[in-house]
Assembly symmetry: C2
Homo-oligomer: 351 residues x 2
């Protein structure tokens, strides 16, 4: 199926007002956006229109029943000016997995991919060319149908907006291992990129920030004995020369950066174990000096090294290594993303 | 603090087009709505304006990070035409509890109460007078501030909309005791009326509906051995002549109908136990004939009797009683709500 995408261009671009050398994350928006409406049991043709407010009835279910999901992606320019995406179909597949769990109708992959590519062509000038910057892409879906009855809506929107962005995180990242709050239930929606999962994290994160930390390390909601995620990222722990990460389950997001890092670690002959990681072993490793690294992985930050952690009123600092796995793996993945190295796994998609 | 509420009245009321004898639940909306904006660190004065769509930036955090909470309330007309509310301050207090957990700024109680009363005066003609009908009131708060950064927003809205409504549920309510999915985590947001909690329920509920049930009985996410909630309601189980309900915790909503029913049961000398209810004891009671009733409680349905339940591929039917507790208690609470009986506990608030 090839959809006809109607394009309405902006009258006057805002791009001249944007300082591309000083871009905050996700708060400057490109000229256009894509909208696709699900109505009367089917997806209508997507449209590309100037970035502008959305009008919704106050009874739209997004305001009441949390049917909202999203994805995070990035577009890069290589040295020749080509536009590159990284494993975009994986984002579409995950969006549809989230959609299924939240009872939002799934978007056909070809409609998604065609719409995304068309939008990037229209806003080509918005894709940053400076090192480390990229065009952050935010596809999202939500219930636009109306009514106060607590049931799935009858209308939905898929939208894609983009924001030229610099790096997501900077400076020290000191994390607190959570012992009381949890982000996801067994049999819940933790594996989905559902809006509600993020709102649930804000309060415990705020408490951690008040204690002097930057983020929370989430543990399982039942025993709090196992490490699951880092803030809104997947987590990796390096003990001696082995990299550990939790297996995904219905509480943990199946991160695209996570699985790419696992593959790249294998390519680089870094020992990896995908298994449950207990808080106890991380603390013991920190005490004995075998804990070498911890880092989060996700689209926005790519890899975000953790500099220390707190647990039961004690703080543990991580060593500063000359050549940490985090740096090696971050270079490996961003080199592929930006067309500086060979793409052995066919992850790069050129527009 | 007494806020000045600016009122902009609708040019032409829609009320003539509404059939008050045939009202669906929560899908016909009154002429006006209240909006209050939180901006630059403080709540602005509320305004009452004609019910109309809301315009939001596509990056508004409600679309991405699920910062949304709501309440459900009802206004009634008594025989003399007085407007009555039922324990409205409890809703305001719970809204603020939900707000705290979702990092949404709390609304001062007097602003909430004054705004609510003013709105009900403006739309007085919309409060149904026919038996069983009421004006359903939906206060809700959401993140209207912008940006793709996964952090609390810097702007919020409190809105109150109303919808004249008939009864919520009708007919047989056959429920499935859930063994795989869960609506809330330990240390999560299950106790809050957060939008994300409802979206999380839709998929398991849909699976139950496909199997021929109407609703899901939620069990704890860890063992699935204990009964926690019924759909979007609190649950009561009657074994012999004792009424049981689960204690509230961070997974279970502190229902206002639930606690009113507990008080009324005590007033009526009905034996009540607030304690964990195991699925096993409910099944055994059903098998031995000591399970007399199950019902859900909530603002929308007040009391919704359950006619049968399914568990592990077996179905159990509940007996049809001549004078079930559900009917006795429903009459007791609605008589107070509609000013047909004495209000011993000071629950009724007359406008």
């Amino acid at each position: 199926m090839s959809a006809t995408i109607e394009i309405t261009r902006i009258e006057k671009s805002k791009i001249a007002s944007v300082d591309f050398n000083n871009l905050p994350f996700g708060s400057v928006f490109s000229d256009h956006m894509l909208t696709c409406t699900y109505k009367n049991g089917k997806w209508e043709s997507p449209v590309i229109v100037p970035y502008a407010p959305i009008a919704l009835d106050p009874s739209a279910k997004i305001f009441h029943y949390g049917q909202s999901i999203f994805e995070g992606m990035k577009a890069y320019k290589d040295a020749k000016g080509n536009t590159l995406l990284f494993r975009p179909l994986e984002n579409c597949k995950r969006l549809n997995k989230s959609a299924e769990r939240l009872v939002i109708p799934q978007i056909p992959e070809d409609v998604f991919m065609q719409g995304l590519k068309e939008l990037l062509k229209v806003d080509d000038a918005w894709i940053p060319t400076n090192e480390g910057s990229s065009l952050y892409i935010r596809p999202f879906m939500f219930a636009s149908g109306n009514g106060f009855h607590a049931s799935p809506a009858d209308e939905y929107k898929l939208m894609i907006c983009t924001a030229p962005s610099g790096a997501y995180f900077a400076g020290k990242v000191n994390v607190l291992i959570e012992e009381k709050y949890a982000r996801a239930a067994n049999g819940g929606v933790g594996f989905a990129k559902a809006g509600g999962n993020y709102a649930a994290q804000f309060y415990p994160t705020q408490l951690a920030i008040e204690k002097g930390y930057n983020q929370v390390i989430w543990t399982d909601d039942n025993t709090h004995e196992y490490i699951e995620e880092a803030g809104a990222m997947n987590i990796f722990v390096r003990i001696n020369d082995t990299l550990l990460t939790s297996p995904t389950n219905d509480r943990i997001l199946d991160g695209i950066t996570r699985k790419s890092i696992l593959q790249l670690a294998e390519d680089l002959d870094i020992a990896v174990e995908v298994r449950k990681i207990s808080v106890a072993e991380v603390v013991i490793a920190a005490q004995s000096g075998t804990l070498k690294e911890m880092f989060g992985t996700g689209t926005a930050a790519v890899i975000s090294p953790i500099t220390g952690f707190g647990f039961q009123e004690k703080d543990y600092e991580l060593p500063t290594l000359e050549m940490p796995f985090a740096s090696i793996l971050k270079k490996a993945i961003t080199d592929i993303q930006t067309n500086k190295s060979e793409d052995l796994h066919g992850w790069r998609v050129q527009l």
